[in-house]
């Protein structure tokens, strides 16, 4: 079931009948043929094809860094899949989710290192993983207990608190056991029946298998009794109960499954890093996982994976100044191309923007030499090209900060305006954005990441709550 277009679903309108004309018209052209072919291919076939393509990735690159990014992406995708069960399907806002990830990591760490006892515990990996995952499922049940009585908002805060407590406990309480702020180190690598996984590539494939298996399992559950139960509870818990669904048990099951998936990811993470540290499981990481799920579309299995991939790759690109520049300006251009229609208008905006930039640069340069003495921080060819267009003062921090605040206010104003006024405001605002980017954001890459994540959540909820691949929901309040 899918709503192919952006038009909002309407209550009482039979979409299938209403769209029959559309369906006929969509017929011709190569893009339509591709779409039709895709729709005919089954879900499993699509999964197999994509998994095969992804499996080729480590073989196509010699950069260990790239494969490492792949590993992190797959970890995030697994987490997103688990969170999707809790938030997307069952509608429970669990803000302590990352604590289960941490539980998995620490659990595995304690069972596969020298941390406990005189020479530590070194269980075979499979055994350790099973123990930890089962324990996490039980912990998920425990945490889910308050959800029986709590409405969405309360549950959110309680789980947020719980996540915070986890990090604090692991950092401060019983440092002998958990290693305190320095965490647990010296964790055994994954060990399956004599085969040790020690290379990044190895972990990539382990995670790929895990991700694919979880996706498959979730797909099967989605169209099963359990899946229907979860979704009915999200739709209307009271009606669900009156239709024989044991709402509390269903919620607890969701928590449990989510926790188990997160813990599984945690075990592999700990083995991969050969360490478990408290700072890995704090709130910023939680926001990362949520951004992935929200962006991709909560309620959609493919969406969770896609969102996680986009978020993970984007953030990675932001680390490198020249890649970041390509990403930033590329994204802006893309948005303009998609949102500004017709072509003439787009051309006008771009031309105006270029002219505006050069003009401002010339004027300010004439007034004060030091105001343009700096060099754009973006690396590579982009930075060079921008040299005469963007104004970069010798000391960029102060003006950059002020511009940042002005930019936010400007964006807010932009959203309120319509028509010509909006298009006119767009030009200086875009220039301002470039200015802020060059003066402040590039320099503070890690903060920019976080700001971007926060922005993703805000913008997605306001503009496209169903995410990239989710279907638009109707809410009867």
């Amino acid at each position: 079931m899918s709503t192919p277009n952006d038009a909002p679903p309407r209550i009482g309108v039979d979409e299938w009948v209403a769209r029959s004309g559309e369906r006929r018209d969509r017929g011709s052209g190569p893009s339509a043929a591709i779409v039709r072919a895709l729709e005919r291919v089954g879900w499993w076939q699509r999964l197999a094809v994509i998994a095969a393509i992804v499996a080729l990735f480590p073989l196509l690159t010699s950069s260990d860094y790239a494969v490492r990014v792949g590993v992190n992406t797959l970890l995030l995708a697994t987490l997103a899949l688990g969170l999707n069960v809790v938030v997307g399907w069952t509608g429970l806002l669990d803000l302590g989710y990352v604590a289960f990830y941490g539980f998995g990591a620490y659990g595995f760490a304690l069972l596969s290192s020298n941390q406990l006892g005189s020479s530590g515990i070194h269980l075979p990996s499979l055994l350790a993983i099973v123990i930890v995952v089962v324990a996490a499922a039980l912990l998920g049940l425990l945490l889910g207990l308050p959800s029986r009585r709590l409405q969405g908002d309360y549950l959110a805060i309680v789980t947020l608190f719980f996540g915070q407590i986890f990090v604090e406990t692991v950092t401060n309480v019983a440092p002998k056991v958990t290693g305190g702020p320095n965490g647990v180190v010296g964790i055994d690598p994954l060990n399956f029946f004599g085969l040790e996984v020690t290379t990044t590539r190895g972990y990539f494939y382990v995670l790929l298998i895990v991700t694919v298996v979880i996706m498959g399992a979730l797909h099967l559950i989605d169209s099963s009794r359990t899946g229907r139960g979860w979704r009915a509870v999200r739709e209307d818990p009271l009606a669900a109960a009156l239709m024989t669904i044991p709402v509390n048990k269903v919620k607890l099951l969701a928590f449990s499954v989510g926790a188990a998936v997160a813990a599984l990811a945690g075990t592999i993470f700990a083995a991969f890093q050969a360490g478990a540290y408290p700072t890995d499981f704090d709130t910023p990481f939680l926001i990362l996982v949520y951004a992935g799920v929200i962006l991709g579309g909560s309620g959609s299995i493919a969406g969770a994976v896609l969102g996680a991939t986009v978020v993970s790759v984007t953030l990675e690109l932001l680390r490198n100044p020249s890649q970041a520049a390509t990403l930033f300006y590329g994204l802006i251009l893309l948005t303009l191309v998609v949102r500004v229609r017709p072509w003439r208008k787009l051309g006008a905006v771009l031309a105006a923007l270029v002219a505006f930039g050069f003009a401002v640069h010339a004027v300010i340069g004439a007034i004060s030499a030091s105001a343009v003495a700096g060099h754009p921080r973006s690396g590579g060819w982009v930075g060079d090209a921008l040299g005469s267009w963007v104004v970069v003062p010798a000391d960029p921090k102060g003006p950059g900060n002020i511009a940042f605040v002005v930019l936010i206010l400007g964006l807010v104003a932009l959203v309120q305006l319509k028509g010509t006024a909006r298009t006119v405001l767009l030009v200086p605002l875009l220039y301002l954005a470039a200015f802020v980017w060059e003066t402040r954001l590039v320099a503070e890459a890690s903060i920019t990441r976080q700001i971007l994540l926060g922005a993703i959540l805000i913008v997605m909820m306001n503009a496209r709550p169903q995410g990239l691949l989710g279907s638009k929901r109707v809410e009867v309040l």
Partner: protein
């Protein structure tokens, strides 16, 4: 009558000082269609909420087939054969028509999550049965909820069809007693006529015992074996439609004090 299927035994529901339902005793025999009438705020939907377990009675007992259900959790009561529809529709709007009905079979099925993942023979068999049940139940409404409609999201149905779907969903819980809350609300005369037929068929073809809240007196007259009138949480009349409709207390409840006095 032989032991009634649904019994309320001196049920009272009090919220602090407010008595939503006061010392109410009702008995519904198997196969009966009983209508519940009364002005707004009389306690009719509250009564449904009491029977289905949304509220627990402050005092008194509720029994289904002799078994006390007062204080049980709603999903348990539903599992024991009491199903309902809602005054303002409460469908699972973003789920498909078929899924709405299939979801309601949860309490009577037992496929665990791991069994569904591993596609055990038992899980597959159960899924087939649930599928067949859903199709059969939806078929009760002639062609209106059939064919391509099965995979349509529930929100895309017309109002009348959504009401029918809600009844279908209730039917999927294999009820013995069906509580229908204002089935004809918002319907035009043609649809109202169909609903009246539908309710009769529900009893005749499926053997459900039906308790219906309704304001439209044509419908009440057309379907009821017996009518019970409520006002301010208390039963004020009970009997055949003619008896209750002309009962002065009932007229007064609807029209106000003093109107029951005959003119002249």
């Amino acid at each position: 009558m032989t032991r009634p299927l649904l019994e309320l035994d001196h049920v009272t529901l009090a919220f602090g000082g407010l008595h939503a339902v006061e010392d109410l005793s009702i008995a519904v025999g198997e196969g009966e269609i009983v209508s519940l009438i009364g002005p707004n705020g009389a306690g009719k939907t509250t009564l449904f909420n009491l029977i289905t377990g949304v509220y627990a009675p402050t005092s008194g007992d509720i029994r289904v087939a002799g078994r006390s259900i007062a204080g049980l959790a709603p999903h348990r009561i539903a599992g024991l054969g009491v199903a309902r529809t809602f005054q303002t529709l409460r469908l699972f709007v973003n789920m498909s028509v078929k899924e709405n009905v299939m979801a309601a079979t949860y309490g009577h099925t037992s496929a665990r999550m791991w069994q569904s993942v591993l596609r055990t023979p038992k899980a597959r068999r159960e899924e087939r049965e649930v599928n067949a049940l859903a199709e059969e139940v939806l078929g009760f409404f002639s062609q209106r909820l059939m064919g391509y409609r099965w995979d349509q999201p529930a929100y895309s149905l017309s109002y009348a069809n959504r009401r029918r779907l809600e009844i279908a969903r209730a039917m999927a819980t294999r009820p013995r007693v069906l509580l229908i809350d204002e089935p004809a609300a918002g319907m035009n005369p043609q649809e109202t006529h169909e609903i009246t037929d539908l309710i009769a068929r529900l009893r005749d073809e499926r053997g459900y015992t039906i308790l219906a809240i309704e304001h439209d007196m044509h419908v009440v007259e057309g379907i009821s074996d017996r009518v019970i009138a409520l006002d301010h949480g208390q039963k004020i009349a009970e009997g055949s439609f003619e008896a209750v409709a002309t009962n002065p207390l009932v007229v007064e409840a609807y029209m106000g004090r003093g109107t029951a006095v005959t003119k002249g």
